[in-house]
């Protein structure tokens, strides 16, 4: 057990119970700023916790950040833990972040696919999907980033349950996705939605289900380019920027397409540093550099959202 956030090793990969136990310590140490919300259970009945950073008010304009929806992308969840700690420790000392938190809330779901994450630690390190049963098939799971109600079932998603990109039987069939959708809809005042993945270093905006440009494409592109410039300033990491369809591939049923079509203009997806000869097995000594450079981009996006209310 990690007894305090000070002794927690942010430069290591951790099991789900360690992350959840750290969350309790973290919330207790920053009780003026952070609360833990239980947003529902996963398919295998694990709790899904969102850390809410708030200085008060009700349903303030808010920023959503989810990480690790594809469970094997371990540097994502690890970056989430580091980032949560960064927000809490910089609040009150970093003027810009403090002003942001004085007007907006941040909601962070560090382990968006807890069942999958447990499987990557216990059974199959390369597991990507959820763990729901598919009637008539031995293969388990749905790709939770093909399961959102945005061009659901269209190009770039598979209807074959054994595929790594199986879209599921219906939109929001996965309880993990549904839990996120419920929170965001019931809140109703999210201004930004950021999904964090890891592989191949990209910062993307809608759309994925179609290759036509989003109505705010020019603005999103310029925000993303500026964010990436800040990210690259730390270690020179090279990122590509563009719409999902144009810079990676057409993929329907993705989270940021859903959020954008639901009216959350500043919707972005990161693919963090996790490439080269390591694949998803990015060495732990790269967690803190990855999280540190990502923070610069995240902060830029959040500041932009704060300064451009709509």
């Amino acid at each position: 057990r990690e007894h305090s956030t000070r002794s927690f090793n942010f430069g290591a990969y951790h099991r789900l119970e360690t992350i959840y136990s750290w969350m309790d310590t973290f919330v207790a140490q920053h009780s003026n700023l952070v609360t833990k919300l239980d947003i529902g259970r996963s398919y295998e009945n694990r709790p899904m916790y969102v850390l809410k950073f708030s200085t008060g008010g009700t349903k303030r304009p808010a920023i959503w950040i989810d990480l690790g929806i594809h469970s094997r992308e371990w540097v994502s969840q690890a970056t989430g833990v580091w980032t949560a700690n960064k927000i809490a420790t910089d609040y009150g000392t970093d003027a810009s972040l403090t002003s942001l938190l004085n007007t907006m809330d941040i909601y962070m779901l560090i382990v968006a696919n807890p069942d999958g994450y447990v499987v990557t630690h216990t059974n199959n390190r390369m597991w990507r999907k959820t763990r729901s049963k598919n009637s008539g098939y031995a293969c388990l799971g749905v790709d939770p980033n093909r399961n959102w109600n945005a061009g659901f079932g269209g190009p770039g998603a598979s209807s074959y349950p054994c595929s790594e990109s199986y879209h599921g039987p219906s939109a929001h069939s996965e309880i993990e996705v549904k839990n996120m959708v419920n929170l965001i809809q019931s809140h109703g005042n999210f201004k930004s939605f950021i999904s964090v993945h890891s592989y191949s270093q990209l910062l993307m905006y809608p759309y994925g289900y179609t290759c036509r440009g989003a109505p705010h494409q020019a603005e999103l592109d310029s925000v993303a380019k500026a964010a990436v410039q800040k990210l690259s300033s730390l270690y020179g990491t090279s990122y590509k920027v563009g719409s999902i369809c144009n810079i990676i591939y057409q993929a329907s049923g993705g989270s940021i397409d859903w959020s954008y079509d639901a009216g959350i203009k500043y919707s972005f997806a990161f693919e963090l540093r996790d490439t080269g000869r390591y694949g998803f097995i990015l060495p732990a000594d790269q967690i803190i550099p990855t999280a540190s450079e990502t923070w610069l981009a995240l902060k830029h996006i959040m500041e932009y959202v704060r300064d451009h209310p709509y």
Partner: protein
Amino acid sequence: EKSFTGDQVVRVDVQSEEQLKLLQVLESEEKWNLDFWLHPVSTELPVDVLVPHTHLAAVKEYLQAHNIPFTVMIDNLQELLDQEKAEMKENHL
């Protein structure tokens, strides 16, 4: 625990639309259990695919037969996973 001993991750730098189509055919071959880490979608982007050791020879043969150049990005996935596991154990201690 699933073992990835001998499984390789192969990177293909796609050079033509024809090669792209051939890789898309490979992607739809369910019997080979390939896990595409980067899908074949553009000649501008590499394709990364995790190939189980049981199908390694067949996949490489397919690529060679169609003159599709590739490099082995991860030679033995299990070796990397073992290193990761050892590191995690050390961190726990």
